[in-house]
């Protein structure tokens, strides 16, 4: 009993327990942390090519090693890209937002400057800077795998307040805006939710699971498929465009009729 008690009080016991706890915590964290970039699918050559592209096109604002840059007044020129992951690069570069056309409230969508291969190489390089969200799984991008009704609910509660119920886009403060979702590829929709580009909040897997994101994609697909059963949608901007239509086109037609009827028969 005494020997046992003495061994139990060994001064190293505490350290051992601490060590075990640390290993367990670290191990559990490593096991449960958000999935890191699928660095294994990128070759060292991809990363090298990506770095060259990065230095030529991105480093002016984001720094030579993606650490981000500030001007003399402390304003951000380009944010740090360490840990943003391949998904962020694929979205920003894949939709043409980066390299940025000109500085302003927000990066505009434009025809992509990088081709698919170059986008992949850039993604590889940025993913190699630090672990971050990787490209989405194909199965979550197929609208057929999602539940449009559930996606619609998620969309109306989380997305419509900026993007408009029809996904037509909406204004944010000081010239910023939520762009239209019409014609945006499922992959980019997913990546935007995952990484929160520009002024968009991040909807990571704890917030909206991969299946939820798939549902949103299914809903957007269904909206596009359905089109506008009532005829011209007038941009799906709601009562304002309808009122404008009434005051311009319909009123002109009615006035033309009135003038015609009011004209004296010659």
């Amino acid at each position: 009993m005494k020997a046992l008690a003495a061994r139990r009080h060994h001064p190293m016991a505490l350290l051992v327990i601490l060590l075990l706890a640390l290993v367990a915590t670290g191990g559990l964290y490593a096991a449960f942390q958000p999935r890191t970039a699928q660095a294994e699918t990128y070759t060292a050559d991809d990363i090298q090519q990506g770095e060259a592209l990065f230095l030529a096109n991105c480093a002016t604002c984001h720094g030579r090693s993606g650490e981000g840059l500030q001007d003399a007044d402390g304003n951000t020129l380009g944010p740090s890209l360490i840990g943003v992951g391949a998904a962020a690069v694929d979205f920003q570069v894949g939709t043409g937002r980066m390299p940025m056309e000109n500085s302003g409230a927000q990066a505009w969508r434009k025809p992509p400057q990088m081709n698919e291969e170059q986008t992949r190489q850039l993604s590889a390089y940025v993913a190699s800077l630090g672990p971050g969200p990787s490209l989405p799984d194909e199965q979550y991008l197929d609208p057929a795998n999602g539940d449009a009704t559930k996606g619609g609910e998620i969309f109306r509660i989380n997305c419509a307040m900026c993007h408009n119920a029809a996904g037509a886009g909406g204004a944010l403060t000081r010239g910023k805006f939520a762009p239209t979702l019409d014609g945006v590829e499922p992959k980019h929709v997913y990546e935007a939710m995952e990484t929160g580009p520009q002024n968009m909040p991040v909807f990571n897997d704890d917030n909206l699971t991969a299946q939820d994101k798939n549902d949103v994609i299914a809903y957007l697909h269904a909206l596009e498929e359905n089109g506008s059963p009532g005829g011209l949608s007038l941009g799906s901007l709601g009562p304002v465009t309808e009122g404008l239509y009434a005051w311009t086109i319909i009123l002109s037609l009615l006035t033309a009729c009135a003038v015609w009827l009011g004209a004296k028969a010659k």
Binding site: I157, A165, G170, A171, V240, G243
Partner: protein, 556 residues
């Protein structure tokens, strides 16, 4: 000969038979209703002819379309807030929970034959109804048609406009979609912003805490029973007063405050008005068949949490949203109660704008002291201050409406919504004043121009040099008919205070009539005509009466 005679006999006989039948039927009716006199009276009623008189008709016809299409909709719409699970044809809603009102709206849009067309016709007709009312009101305002004896009818028309807003808003809320629910939430907030009684009012309307389970059935009763009945009643009064006080006419030779120059209702106007009804019906149907309106399935079933970007009410309610968007968040607390100036101030402004509109005829009558009956309309430029005030009113209304659309303007024009809000905040004070002044000066400039035209005729830009070197322009005098329109209008002057004129009224008359262009007097006109005759004589002496320019002569 032999082949044509029987056919011509037939042609003669047929109308005769129809006419006889009509006479017999008419007599039968008249013996039982004694309505013949009324029909004769209405049939011989004279209406003047002008396109700008026809917007009231458009409002009436779109109201008829609203009644017809609305009756169709009530056969399928279920005004209930009971929760159901959707099981219809619209895929992206399958299995969603929603109120029966929303479900029945989806059902009538997608599954009832012609349902969507009728819904869209009902909604477009509502927008057209309000557009027509406003255009009609502008016409009446700017031509001074509201003057004695028509002040009461102006008030009836004003009430119709307000009821139209209530009808539109209550109908827009019925489908129980997210957008209309947001609108009701604004109404709830507006009511709760009223000190002391606000929460009671809200609880009373919604039958408890917002949104409750009562509001849709209640709005349904308001929308399909109370408001349409009130509108119908007021339309009857509006038209009766129109018949009693006769229609106004634009100034012209032979048109006075004691007559009406136009065509009788039967047959000319009956045909024109009947045809116009079908034109309005056709245009609304055409638009409804080709242009979507209020796609409720996109907004989704109402749930108090989501508010979509681009949430606006229908156009005639936009101005009520604009003030709320433009006002800074001014609030203060007194004895633990929040006083929301950011709600009370806009409501006061809305009330002021409406009150100005309703009371303007009485204001103007007080200023002018004019107690005569007016049946000849004013041309807008002949009353610069009235026209300026009207345009300033429209400017405030427009800025409020633009304020309510600030997010869409920012999005589509790539502007900052914050800058736009400030622009509208400043311009709601500056623009009306500026616009009033500019409009007034433009009217005065037009009066001056018309005065010159009446006196001297049209400048032909042909100049003749006299032997003594004097240059004379050839003026083409107006004919008597055209000149009449330019010299017939009323003329008011500012009053001096005292002798029964209050200081306030003296100031008001000064504001209205301080700047004026004196109308042409008969003496002035005689002198101008003498002068013109004299000049023409001189010119004719030089040109021999041939006014073709030298280059044209060379061409010959």
């Amino acid at each position: 000969m032999t082949t044509t005679t029987p056919s011509s006999q037939k042609q003669d006989a047929q109308p005769g038979r129809v006419a006889r039948l009509g006479a017999v039927g008419g007599d039968w009716l008249d013996q039982r209703t004694a309505g013949g006199g009324l029909v004769k009276f209405l049939g011989r009623k004279i209406f003047p002819d002008h396109w700008s008189f026809m917007f009231g008709e458009v409002a009436l016809y779109s109201f008829v379309i609203l009644l017809v299409s609305g009756t169709f909709l009530t056969m399928f719409f279920v005004p209930s807030m009971d929760e159901v699970v959707y099981d219809g044809v619209y895929g992206p809603m399958q299995g969603a929970h929603m109120s029966r009102a929303f479900e029945s709206t989806l059902h009538l849009s997608f599954e009832v034959k012609g349902g969507l067309l009728f819904r869209q016709m009902h909604h477009w007709a509502a927008l057209v109804f309000m557009v027509a009312i406003f255009v009609h009101m502008f016409r009446v305002f700017f031509t001074g048609a509201f003057r004695k004896p028509r002040e009461l009818n102006w008030l009836v028309g004003f009430s119709l406009m307000v009821l139209g807003m209530v009808a539109g808003f209550s109908g827009y809320s019925l489908p129980d979609d997210v957008l209309s629910g947001n609108g009701l939430r604004v109404v709830d907030g507006l009511m709760k912003g009223i000190p002391i009684v606000g929460t009671y009012l809200s609880m009373l309307l919604f039958g408890g805490e917002f949104p409750g389970h009562d509001i849709i059935p209640r709005l349904f009763t308001i929308h399909i029973l109370l408001v349409p009945a009130a509108i119908l009643g007021l339309i009857a009064i509006h038209l009766t007063l129109l018949v009693l006080s006769k229609h106004t006419h634009y100034p012209g030779p032979g048109r006075t405050d004691r007559n009406v120059v136009g065509f009788p209702v039967f047959p000319v106007y009956a045909a024109k008005a009947g045809g116009f009804f079908f034109l309005v019906f056709g245009i609304i149907t055409l638009i409804s068949a080709t242009t979507a309106i209020n796609a409720v399935w996109i907004y989704g079933p109402y749930d108090p949490s989501p508010v979509s970007a681009g949430s606006q009410p229908d156009w005639y309610m936009l101005w009520t949203d604009g003030g709320l968007r433009l006002i800074p968040g001014w609030e203060f607390t007194i004895f633990g109660y929040v006083i929301s100036l950011n709600i009370l101030l806009p409501m006061a402004i809305y009330g002021g704008l409406l009150a100005f509109l309703a009371l303007y005829p009485f204001l103007e009558a007080w200023v002018t002291g004019d107690d005569r009956e007016h049946h000849v309309l004013d041309l807008p430029y002949n009353n610069p201050v009235r026209t300026g005030l009207g345009v300033a009113w429209i400017t405030i209304y427009l800025i409020l409406a633009l304020g309510a659309t600030n997010d869409l303007i920012a999005l589509k024009l790539h502007l900052s919504i914050n800058d736009l809000t400030w622009l509208f905040r400043v311009s709601i004070f500056v623009a009306p004043v500026l616009v009033f002044y500019i409009t007034k000066r433009l009217c005065i400039a037009m009066q001056r121009h018309k005065r010159g035209l009446a006196l001297h005729g049209v400048e032909t830009s042909k100049v003749v040099r006299m032997p003594n070197g004097e240059m004379l322009e050839i003026h083409e005098p107006l004919n008597e008919y055209d000149r009449w329109v330019l010299v017939q209008h009323d003329d008011f002057r500012p009053l001096k205070a005292g002798k029964g004129v209050s200081a306030l009224r003296a100031k008001a008359t000064s504001f209205f009539f301080k700047d004026y262009i004196s109308p042409v007097t008969p003496a002035e006109l005689r002198e101008a005509l003498d002068h013109a005759a004299h000049e023409k004589h001189e010119i004719d002496a030089v040109t021999g009466g041939d006014y073709t320019v030298p280059s044209a002569k060379v061409g010959h």
